[in-house]
Assembly symmetry: C2
């Protein structure tokens, strides 16, 4: 199977794309680390027997993928970077804007994804992670009305549940939605009373996860997100129709 | 709400990032179209009262996001491009590779997402789309053993179901997984007998969608994907452990 697969994926690629893949390998395998300096244009032309335009385009491709930064000036050249999960969030928000998505569409996707993640988490969660979830609830309770603590611990709670589902792919999706789905970024605030209600909802979800009951975890997360959406619709009637906007 | 939101998202951005957002707006709103030429570096420096490094970095950012292509040489400059859904697939496969994801992880995410999409599609699908789904099944039946028809109509079927769920966000996610999740790309082939079994499974899903029964659609899609995974595990025992690899 080996060679034929290689052949298949290499056929039809431009020289610069092939070179980009060769250059990407040591970064992706971890042989090169964040901050490491790569050979400059001249050295690459010699080493890979490639013309300057090919090398230049290959480096551009790597930069576009977030795998390197090109420093200009003397002593410059390609520096290795590790793409962050959040970088996908940027590409995603851009694409969603091009596709005409609204904040409501993002909320809708969260309501579809997160109950399913809670369901999976109920079967796979570890005691350590349950303790961490407890802590997020405790911090919410100990800081009533504190907007910053609320934002941080609310995001942390949802991230922990997504991670507990142990799906690297779905985790990447939910991470990329996180910034978009967060009402705080578009000006939503939560009263102390509302924050207490969220803490209660989170507590119910943790209880379902602790008992290892997938149906209960699914239902508790669903109810939580539906309640959040009702709150947004009531207090910020325009919010759901707002287009997703590309930001850093 | 308007201004404070603007302030919030602009604070802390570099000049080049702000310029990139300004330049992106007419592309994202459609005022500029694919292939349109934008002002060159010199003109932008004058128009936005920005230094060359700022303009250059802003253009690089837009290029990295797939919103423009920078043509070099005389008569070159920034040309508008429209980012495709598939571009997210590229960023995703790269990120998944960095995160150490396997083909099995992708299959796992599909098994989580697609039954849920089928469930939603059952409530929202139109007669036109049902006809299109019928056609994909008919083409599979009329071309037994044809690998190319099978690949095309199989992908088309799953794409149509995802689109029928009418969630632009989930549609983007599933589109981005499509290339990764496709066994054909990594060398999987399907016998005529297996292809006929897939046609039957697809037909059962279409029947559930036509009857508008979310539970039946969810169950039929789930059974179909589980059967596919059993087939892969049996015929290609190494496949599920294979790391996701970045390709164009």
């Amino acid at each position: 199977m080996g060679t034929s697969i290689e052949d298949r994926s290499w056929r039809g690629l431009k020289a610069s794309q092939r070179l980009a893949q060769v250059l990407a390998r040591p970064i992706l395998t971890g042989a090169l680390r964040e901050g490491d300096r790569m050979p400059n244009e001249q050295e690459m032309m010699l080493r890979y027997e490639a013309g300057r335009p090919t090398v230049r385009e290959a480096l551009r491709l790597l930069e576009a993928r977030g795998l390197i930064v090109l420093k200009s000036g003397p002593g410059g050249g390609p520096i290795v970077r590790r793409p962050a999960k959040e970088s996908l969030g940027e590409s995603l928000s851009l694409l969603l804007q091009v596709e005409g998505a609204s904040f409501g569409d993002v909320a809708d996707a969260r309501r579809a994804l997160e109950p399913m993640l809670a369901r999976r988490a109920a079967e796979r969660i570890t005691p350590d992670r349950l303790d961490e979830l407890d802590e997020t609830v405790r911090l919410l309770r100990e800081n009533p009305g504190d907007q910053q603590v609320f934002t941080a611990q609310n995001q942390r709670f949802h991230t922990l549940v997504a991670q507990a589902a142990r799906s690297v792919v779905l985790d990447v999706f939910v991470s990329s939605l996180k910034a978009l789905a967060d009402g705080v970024r578009v000006g939503v605030t939560y009263s102390a009373r509302k924050q207490a209600a969220v803490a209660n909802a989170h507590e119910a979800i943790v209880a379902a996860l602790r008992s290892g009951d997938p149906d209960a975890a699914d239902a508790a997360m669903r109810e939580h997100l539906e309640e959040a959406e009702r709150y947004w619709r009531r207090r910020y009637p325009d919010l759901m129709g707002r287009p997703v906007e590309w930001t850093y």
